[in-house]
Symmetry: C2
Amino acid sequence: MVSARGLEVLRAIVQDYVETREPVGSKSIVDRHAFGVSAATIRNDMALLEDEDLITAPHTSSGRVPTDKGYRVFVDHLSEVRPLSPAQRTAIMSFLEAPGDLDDLMVRTVRALTQLTGQVAIVQYPSFAQAHVSHVELVGLDAGRMLVVLVTDTGRVSQRLLFLPHEPVAEDLVRMRATVADLIVGRSIRDGAQAIADRLASVATGTRSPHDTVVDLIASVVAEELDEFRQDRLVMAGTANLARREADFRGSIYPLLEAIEEQVTLMRLMGEMVADEHGLAASIGRENEPFGLAEASVVAGEYDAPGTRARVGVLGPTRMDYPSNLASVRAVARYLSRLLDEDENAR
Amino acid sequence: MVSARGLEVLRAIVQDYVETREPVGSKSIVDRHAFGVSAATIRNDMALLEDEDLITAPHTSSGRVPTDKGYRVFVDHLSEVRPLSPAQRTAIMSFLEAPGDLDDLMVRTVRALTQLTGQVAIVQYPSFAQAHVSHVELVGLDAGRMLVVLVTDTGRVSQRLLFLPHEPVAEDLVRMRATVADLIVGRSIRDGAQAIADRLASVATGTRSPHDTVVDLIASVVAEELDEFRQDRLVMAGTANLARREADFRGSIYPLLEAIEEQVTLMRLMGEMVADEHGLAASIGRENEPFGLAEASVVAGEYDAPGTRARVGVLGPTRMDYPSNLASVRAVARYLSRLLDEDENAR
DNA sequence: AATTGGCACTCACTCGAGACGAGTGCCAGG
DNA sequence: CCTGGCACTCGTCTCGAGTGAGTGCCAATT
């Protein structure tokens, strides 16, 4: 069994290895940390740690390197989330507190996080799946073109251009709008999409006569747009950092860049991470194997948006500075929650 | 002076070097190409090519490698744009011919291009700077929230959410809309922005009393949005290919990934390239030095969008297959022009 | 029982020497 | 103008010796 000092040795190894990027030997541990025992004693502890598969030696006679399991123990039991410096806090604030819509805020958030951590930063958009449609508008443009605008209660707006067979008159617009609004306004994205699907199906099965083909056309476009609302999105920044830290990844960074471009993999990964009581979570090394990211770690934190919850995180080498990245992620998530809450109340 | 055969030797060197990634020696040229002369003769030609700075030897006694100038001569005088295979043509068509709005089309285009070339693909959005505002709409939502929608004659739509001090009544909306529309509808993006700036300035200088602060608020939001229209945008795909071809770049791929994330650098680079009579252009190696991309090449082609013109291109190592990339870029640009033209006429 | 100093051992890494060979430049002859 | 021949360069590979950081184990000590 690993003793209390043994765990301290593990902590020292993780810290030194992250800092120096060199396998850590017993001698350098006694030099750099005040354990008050000799190198031989440390060696005995290290042998136990190796038995527990918490550290490993790259070659028979070299220092030790933490295993993924070692990092996991470090993150779960040995590391405290290191508080940010005041300078860092004000940096976050000045980054985030600027006017702009949700898109702007997401972009600024992800930039703040990449700047703070020097890693690839990832921000999930708040999910709109539970949002409710608060408004639908039809705007007739010139010959045959019409604009369909949707607004949710969470403030997301989307529009779609549509070509109509013949130009509708103003009364038609009002009537059509009422029909469509009746289907979806006040309903959640999910329910609204369902209501439209039902209506379109009732035409197909002959329950209802297709006398209002234009409305059906509009409805189907609205349905497509609602589907898009349901898709969660990611914003990312700092991908160039992968190249800068390339040596930290054993293999090629190709799969990483691919995952970043794919987005959907990262989406799933972030979604499946289990948060602790602070809303923080880490997924380390081979724990990411099912996602093809066995040589990377992801650190994520939850933030609250009105009515829902999403995540911000960073992606980096397994050999990353977890305490400081966890702190950055937590701080950014908190500020983001606060800002979104203020926005909500400002209305 | 370099003889005609000398240029053929240059062509052979470029082709072989791109294919094998090894410096090319006189012997291997005689083996792989039917020059009908001896290696010694080729060596004499190569000495002349070296005098002209078209090729260079990495070490005193190794084969030769094209210089950037050599690639330039190759692209300008020695390479024919290699026609695409029928399979590739149908691949492009099936990629591009799917329903969807402009954003979808841009994304599909960039994917097609990266798939075709295996390089990083870049597509410029058609510039909206010369587009004209065809419609402006104000939509009152719930308490104090209002939506401002802008539409251009090129079909671009944008909207912006706005918080008003107090809820306007329907007549107000109509009046305010008329006022704003009067300023910008029918004008170009540039002129519309100017008209708004003039109006706001006339308040500041006291020429006009600020009795209509709400309209001014709306106008300033519209002006911001118009500014965004003016900004050109890029879509990119295939950045992971950089990692795959990392060995082809002498240094780190960090600056490349940075430029890709920046976008603005690539924007300028693509904008400054000078096209030949086919609308094609290449910027090779150190020609990109002012953009920090001295180890990369960009191949671009022009496409026509209604009322304007923009570019598609690929970014890759200087040692790239120019003929085939030029062909891909040209083919994609042509299909894109055609599709946009059909869209236009369909209205 | 835990700790320590000592010691033999392992093994990656470095360096230099030598062999190899691809490729060149040059020259004299066709 | 082309060609075969030849000396030369120089990067690359291989091998072996030397070095040193670090380990594992053991007997002695606290």
